[in-house]
């Protein structure tokens, strides 16, 4: 009995909790991608770098706050800096829409042209972020590090295995729930949200019923900026900030959005967790868990790790390929094909 409990604790500590946190971050990122896809109808390759830009602003403001001695008690100061990051990112994406994307919208260009344009925006953002903050790792997490520490948990329960929940993991999940709830309330209850959904479902019909497309686009970018900044900041708090890593996040984020069904917000959330859980479980070394569960003589010799962590991109890619082969519209019905 104790062994099974111990196994569960190990499982929770190394698989469940990290995967839930990572899944929330991916879900927020995928929501941004899926909204752009639904309303503006293109795959935004600049999304990873938009996240990097937002996080960069948050980091700079955090440093400024820290230098002035402002802190948020046990919580990371970055949460206080979040509104500034969102505002700056909103200015950036709406500016890029005015200067770049709007022209192609007016000329009714093909989605693939938008995609290439977003590559150009990605280049610019890449340069901008590296120019301002440099290409290196930045750590900006402060405040209390753990909600539950390994030692305290062991004392509390008397088990051999400890469980730790990092503050950043707790914040990630809570923030993600709040943000997603707010987003769905906005999409389903407010006038603007409804017009966004109408526009996404059927552009012509929406235009006929008097919805102002520029207004819809404006609000979409606003929400995307907020989602990207929050997702990026949470990821940076949980792990660390490095511009190139944010670029690489594009792959799991797109995989999440496609797996869930591009253009479907609910699907993006589900997709984020599917990708995160598969990545973590496939790259986790199961030896410890198995040793607790099976009789002693069966204990495995190796690490029982399916793939080394360097191949975590391969996992999201595999899932993407499987979904593309079996159900190209995604798990939830997206607006694809």
């Amino acid at each position: 009995m104790m062994d099974i409990l111990n196994a569960l604790v190990v499982l929770a500590n190394f698989v469940m909790i990290p995967a839930v946190a990572y899944g929330s971050q991916l879900a927020l990122g995928a929501l941004g991608v899926t909204l752009v896809y639904g309303v503006l109808r293109f795959s935004n390759f600049a999304h990873g770098d938009t996240m990097a830009f937002g996080t960069m602003v948050v980091i700079l403001v955090t440093w400024w706050f820290q230098s002035m001695g402002i802190s948020f008690g046990p919580l990371p100061t970055a949460l206080l800096a979040l509104p500034f990051g969102i505002a700056a990112t909103a200015v950036l994406v709406i500016g890029s829409d005015r200067m770049v994307y709007r022209f192609y919208r007016q000329t009714k260009s093909e989605p693939v042209v938008f995609l290439i344009v977003s590559l150009g925006v990605m280049f610019v953002l890449n340069g901008l972020v590296r120019f301002i903050i440099g290409p290196n790792d930045q750590s900006f997490s402060d405040g209390e590090r753990f909600i539950i520490k390994v030692g305290d948990f062991k004392k509390m329960t008397g088990l051999d295995e400890g469980l730790a929940i990092k503050t950043t993991q707790g914040i990630t999940v809570v923030t993600a729930i709040v943000v997603v709830a707010a987003l769905f309330w906005f999409l389903n209850k407010t006038r603007t949200g409804k017009s966004m959904r109408a526009f996404s479902d059927n552009e012509d019909l929406a235009l006929l019923s008097g919805i102002n497309p520029e207004r819809v686009v404006f609000y979409t970018w606003l929400i995307v900026a907020a989602l990207a900044t929050i997702a990026g900041t949470l990821y940076g708090l949980d792990k660390s900030f490095k511009p190139f890593v944010y670029f690489q996040l594009l792959l799991p984020i797109f995989a999440a959005a496609i797996v869930g069904g591009l253009g479907n917000p609910l699907g993006a959330i589900a997709g984020g967790f599917v990708i995160a859980f598969s990545e973590v479980t496939i790259t986790y070394a199961w030896k410890k868990v198995i040793t607790y569960v099976v009789p002693e003589t069966w204990a495995p010799d190796g690490l029982v790790q399916l793939l080394s962590t360097e191949y975590k991109f391969a996992v999201s890619f595999m899932i993407l390929v499987i979904v593309l082969l079996i159900k190209p519209t995604g798990l939830f019905k997206g607006k694809s094909l």
């Binding site: 280049f123 610019v124 340069g127 797109f254 591009l262 191949y311 593309l324």
Partner: protein, 434 residues
């Protein structure tokens, strides 16, 4: 000015730029730009085939280029006998088992009746195949990587002449393209983009981590060269004599000679590929490809197998990228997996194709040279500009220090703006499609 004159003028401009670099900076830099320009031109020729002529979005050029590099190592390095003895045959067996299990997986998915039988059957085959492959492969991999890891720790290659690796690189890239094309072509264009982006990241991850094949991040150095070594030239009395008769010291003369040798080889490949692409473009096949690009539905209605044609052109374009990748690794004479950066090897090639003129082979070649020239030269220019901007600031100001250090990233910004401006005001590129 007619179109042809404009084309000549633009190519003359590139020639002037490179020659100017030779006179102002050094001939070594100029030849370096020329050589990498030739390789970039080949890559953008391949991407132009996919995007310009068929309208396929390949965002994984880096992966195909890296596969070319892998081919160079596998073909031209000397085999390591100790490592082969330690686990070579077993690794081959493991790879064979892996291939068989993938075939079994595909068969079980396609042949089993739809529904639960298929789902469970496929999963069982996948799990068994995975474990059997790993159990055969893992001990052998450990044994091979344990053989003198500081110097070898890998199986080495076949020890064949390095030039053979160029077509082999193309074959490797073609095989990868076939797999991606089979899954993602026929679906929406964005999916191909994501799939290629994914496969290129995976290829780089494999090169970095499969030490038994590529030595991973320890890099393979000293890949044999198709041209003579500088040291040998400097030791050759007749070469030294000729160099001095040109008024050059033997050191500079030997590096220039070697680079010129590469330039000739690359130019031959480029001209052959350009001729082939031009012929393909003018042939009925090329007309059909453009017809498909311009109106897929109409082409399908005319009885053209769109997906099969897409697969064909996707494989061809990727193979060209693979050839270019093998050429690049040959010139560097080393394989450094960590040097493959998507911005440099995927997105920069895109800038080349778009700026040069998608759909026009000459245009993409021009773009290759021009954008590569800018990519190399914007860095010193940016640094110089930054020096001027920051000169009024105090010597020890932190901002000045930061700005000067960050000047290197100016080129990302410049390329992005360049691409956006071209897309907006001249979307057909410098030499538009006819």
């Amino acid at each position: 000015m007619s179109d042809t004159q404009k084309t000549y003028a633009l190519f003359a401009l590139v020639a002037v730029l490179i020659l100017g670099t030779g006179f102002v900076q050094s001939w070594n830099t100029a030849l370096f730009i020329l050589n990498m320009g030739l390789i970039s031109a080949i890559m953008s020729l391949g991407v132009n085939l996919q995007w310009g002529i068929a309208g396929l979005l390949n965002v994984g050029i880096m992966g195909f280029v890296a596969l070319g590099g892998l081919a160079t190592v596998l073909v031209s390095m000397e085999p390591v006998p100790d490592a082969w003895e330690a686990g070579g045959p077993r690794i081959l067996m493991g790879l064979a088992v892996g291939t068989i299990s993938i075939v079994a997986l595909v068969l079980s998915y396609t042949k089993l009746p739809k529904g639960w039988v298929r789902a469970i059957g496929t999963i069982v085959v996948a799990v068994i195949g995975f474990y059997v492959t790993r159990s055969v492969l893992d001990p052998a991999v450990q044994a091979v990587e344990g053989v003198n890891p500081a110097l070898t720790g890998y199986l080495g290659g076949l020890g064949l002449p390095v030039l053979i690796s160029w077509p082999v690189g193309g074959l490797f890239a073609a095989a990868a393209a076939w797999v991606i094309g089979k899954t993602a072509l026929g679906l929406r264009s964005d999916y191909l983009a994501i799939a290629t982006l994914g496969i290129s990241e995976i290829i780089i991850a494999v090169l970095k981590n499969e030490d038994w094949m590529t030595r991973g991040v320890k890099n393979v150095i000293g890949i044999p060269r198709p041209v003579p070594y500088e040291v040998d030239l400097q030791a050759d009395p007749s070469f030294v004599e000729r160099a001095t008769s040109f008024g050059l010291d033997p050191m500079t003369a030997s590096t220039i000679y070697v680079k010129l040798g590469y330039a000739v080889l690359f130019a031959i490949v480029l001209i052959v590929l350009l001729w082939l692409s031009q012929m393909a473009l003018k042939s009925p096949w090329g007309r059909m490809m453009r017809a498909i690009r311009d109106n897929e539905t109409a082409a399908r209605a005319m009885g053209k197998n769109v997906t099969a044609r897409h697969l064909q052109v996707f494989i061809l374009g990727s193979a060209i990228c693979g050839i270019a990748g093998a050429m690049m690794t040959t010139m560097d004479s080393q394989l450094t997996p960590s040097s493959y950066q998507p911005l440099r090897f995927t997105f920069l090639i895109w800038v080349m194709v778009i700026v040069g003129g998608s759909g026009n082979n000459l245009g993409s070649i021009l773009g290759g040279f021009l954008v590569w020239f800018l990519w190399v030269q914007v860095e010193p220019l940016g640094a110089a500009l930054m020096d001027i901007i920051t000169s009024p600031m105090a010597e020890d100001s932190a901002l000045r220090d930061h700005l000067v250090k960050s000047a290197a990233y100016m080129r990302l910004l410049t390329m992005g703006i360049f691409l956006l401006v071209m897309l907006r005001f001249s979307p057909k590129g410098l030499i538009p499609e006819k």
